[in-house]
């Protein structure tokens, strides 16, 4: 039985329409991510890590090539639906101008989850990232690390089997980093969730015992086991 | 928030539903400002169930509305232009409804010494010779048209400020006749504003009697102007109604317009017009009684 959750075939992404980028085109011949895998994508700045993650998260479309999520090929008519299976923690956190609780609940509201269930799931997510006392605070009242944890909670609360995280702990205080790394580990080892994240830190790779994929100038260097 | 949207939608739609017949009457600003129409129109609306929409513009603008078919009937006071209007086929016929008179007002010390002069044309000649300041409405209104006619009769040297415009029927000329000299000021304003200006600079001007009577004077600022010439036959001010010709504009409400004409010339309404007073003074004299 095929347990590939994300598959990329013949992907080519061009940055020429993007004014701010000086990165080379991203080219991926073939990439398969299996269920329960913990994968770290590494590479220097501008190598294409965020873009690769966003392509997997169906947030941007490659110029050519196919993406498969849970063995379904992504097309125009199923894009929005499949996107809900691959939530992304973006590199920079944008909190919406409302309470912490509502920020976390947002993704559930998009999915029209019933109110009672939203309540219990959000509270659960809050306790996982250790932010329960802050639930009713406004988006601007937290520290950088706390905001990042809210961002993580936003994604966790969706309870998907796949999580895509772009530099989840870069620049954070030790406490926040530790909490986030613990959550990620637990999700992967206890619940068999597939986690793909980008990082600069070899230490983190070690802590999370992940496989590594190295990107350089838009190409995959090698796939270390 | 949703409630707000619903309210707005209801409000918006309210404007779209009204099947009442509305007669569009274009008239002069002085007629509208006299309050006469407000006084008598209720009677028409009640007896015929036709509403009247009064558009107050200058006589010239009203006639243009008539030419464009944007009005159903006119009530104006420029006989020469009216005759030309009918000759060109835009109007049905002129029906004289009421009259009053113009007067020439000016500063009480009367620098051009016109007091007692019966003919307005001669008054203007004296003003021109003396070079006394004269204010013209200069706005293509009935009063302005009368004023130009009087200048013509005064035999003073006139120049025309003409503009050529190209219309569907070829070139047309818009001409304002005016005497020569800096003492003549054309301000392009309504009657009340013109009287105000003339009072400020203590100058002569031509006005209809009604507006002069109705004008509030602020005695703290300047001396009021007084009537220096009245009663001359050339100061006669004739108001007529003209229904717009349906062969030129088939959509106009011709039968409603005819009803209006019949109504305003009926003895009952003519009497009402005669009895209308403002500040205790009669403003209009009926023609049909």
């Amino acid at each position: 039985m095929n347990n590939t959750v994300i598959r990329l075939d013949n992907i080519s992404y061009s940055y020429t329409e993007d004014y701010n980028s000086n990165v080379h085109d991203l080219v991926i011949d073939h990439l398969e991510i299996k269920k329960g895998e913990m994968l770290a994508i590494m590479g220097s700045n501008g190598a294409g890590k965020s873009t690769l993650l966003e392509i997997m998260g169906l947030l941007c479309s490659p110029k050519k090539g196919d993406v498969y999520i849970n063995q379904l090929r992504v097309e125009a008519n199923n894009r929005s639906d499949l996107r809900r299976q691959v939530p992304v923690l973006l590199q920079s956190t944008y909190l919406f101008s409302t309470t912490i609780f509502e920020n976390i609940a947002l993704g559930l509201r998009f999915r029209k989850v019933p109110e009672m269930e939203i309540h219990s799931r959000v509270n659960r997510a809050l306790s996982i990232v250790e932010l329960t006392p802050h639930a009713n605070k406004q988006y601007f009242e937290l520290s950088g690390g706390e905001k990042r944890r809210v961002d993580l909670a936003r994604v966790l609360v969706l309870e998907t089997d796949i999580l895509l995280l772009d530099e989840p702990t870069t620049g954070l205080d030790d406490k926040s980093r530790a909490i986030i790394e613990d959550v990620i580990t637990e999700l992967n080892q206890k619940k068999c969730h597939t986690i793909v994240f980008t990082t600069h830190s070899h230490d983190q790779v070690k802590t999370l015992s992940s496989n590594v994929l190295r990107l350089h100038n838009g190409y995959i260097l090698n796939n270390e086991q | 928030m949703k409630l707000l949207i619903i309210i707005v939608c209801l409000l918006a739609s309210s404007q779209l539903f009204s099947s009442q017949q509305v007669l569009i009457l274009a008239t002069t600003t002085s007629t509208e400002n006299s309050g006469l129409l407000r006084h008598i129109h209720g009677d028409f609306e009640k007896s015929t169930d036709i509403k009247i929409k009064v558009i107050p513009k200058g006589t010239g603008a009203s006639m243009q509305l008539g030419r464009d078919g944007n009005a159903d009937i006119l009530l104006v006071h420029a006989p020469d232009q009216e005759r030309e209007f009918i000759l060109n086929g835009y109007g049905d016929k002129r029906v004289e409804v009421m009259h009053n008179d113009f007067v020439i007002i000016g500063p009480s010390d009367d620098p051009a010494n016109v007091k007692g002069e019966k003919f307005a044309a001669k008054v203007l000649a004296k003003i021109a010779k003396e070079g006394a300041t004269f204010i013209s409405r200069g706005d293509n209104s009935g009063t302005h048209m009368k004023e130009q006619k009087l200048w013509h009769l005064s035999k003073m040297k006139l120049i025309s400020k003409a503009k050529e415009i190209i219309t569907a029927k070829g070139k047309k000329e818009i001409k304002f006749m005016r005497p020569v000299g800096g003492w003549y000021r054309s301000i392009g304003r309504g009657m009340g504003a013109t009287i105000h200006y003339a009072t400020e600079v203590q100058a002569y001007t031509l006005t209809d009697r009604g507006t002069y009577y109705a004008y509030h004077h602020d005695t703290k600022r300047s001396k009021p102007l007084v009537i220096l010439s009245e009663g001359g036959s050339d100061l006669f001010n004739q108001y007529s109604v003209i229904a717009i010709n349906p062969s030129k504009h088939p959509h106009v409400q011709y039968s409603a317009a005819k009803k209006y004409v019949a109504w305003i010339t009926s003895p009952r309404i003519q009497k009402k017009i005669a009895l209308y007073k403002k500040n205790g003074k009669t403003l209009f004299y009926p023609d049909v009684l």
Partner: protein, 230 residues
């Protein structure tokens, strides 16, 4: 006109006695401003979102065009619309001349460039971030649209207030298209001009004060609306 005091007293009297004529004119002014603003906002919000999230060069060109259109004199707009909806015009058969809906058409054209450029500015700030974050959390196209508006709501509300103020104080279009017909299309602004032309300056000033008071009330209400969304 040292009679500011007199004008204020007159205005107060008009307001307190709920003078029926003034009430009618006031209602029309508010109605026209309300409907025009609503119509324009409904159209410019989606347009603004499309433009804001697109190509930088394209956006710049549009803003230049909009800024130019904002210099159009109101009487010119009034004249152009008049020629379209007057009997001789293309839309003559709709009988829109000298009606409130006719005025609304003119006002909509007037404030459209203003509101669109304000909306684009309102949405441009964190536009990409908001859209990306919303999509990453699974928002549909419509949900993204709505949250974009929600996040920019203060700036958008400012645009609405600006548009409303522009329309309620406008006189050129209202006069030319509306015709200033007493019981049908006379508004606060057109009656101010009328009274000025008749020489009743103090009364005109009093009406002007009534207009300002009305505007103040509406703005207070809008502020409360903004405040409650904390």
């Amino acid at each position: 006109m040292e009679n500011f005091n007199l004008a204020f007293l007159n205005a107060l009297h008009l307001l307190v006695s709920l003078d029926s004529e003034i009430l009618q004119y006031a209602w029309r002014s508010v109605y026209i401003a309300l409907i025009s603003t609503t119509l324009v906002i409904v159209v410019t919000l989606p347009m603004g979102i499309l433009i804001a999230e697109n190509n930088f060069r394209f956006k710049r060109a549009i803003i230049i065009v909009l800024n130019t259109l904002m210099s159009l004199p109101t009487v010119l707009i009034g004249l152009v619309v008049y020629s379209f909806i007057g009997r001789m015009g293309i839309f003559g058969s709709f009988k829109l001349l000298f009606t409130i809906p006719g005025i609304i058409i003119g006002e909509v054209i007037l404030i459209f460039p203003l509101v669109l450029s304000l909306v684009i500015a309102a949405l441009s700030r964190d536009n990409t971030q908001i859209t990306k974050t919303a999509k990453a959390l699974g928002a549909s196209q419509l949900q993204t649209f709505l949250i974009l508006i929600k996040e920019s709501r203060y700036a958008i509300l400012s645009s609405i207030i600006a548009a409303f103020g522009r329309v309620i104080g406008e006189v050129g279009i209202a006069t030319i298209i509306g015709g200033n017909a007493e019981k049908y299309t006379r508004t606060l602004t057109t009656s101010i001009v009328l009274n000025i032309n008749m020489g009743y300056f103090d009364y005109a000033l009093a009406i002007g004060i009534v207009l300002l008071t009305l505007s103040l009330i509406v703005n207070l209400f809008m502020q409360l609306l903004q405040g409650s969304k904390r």
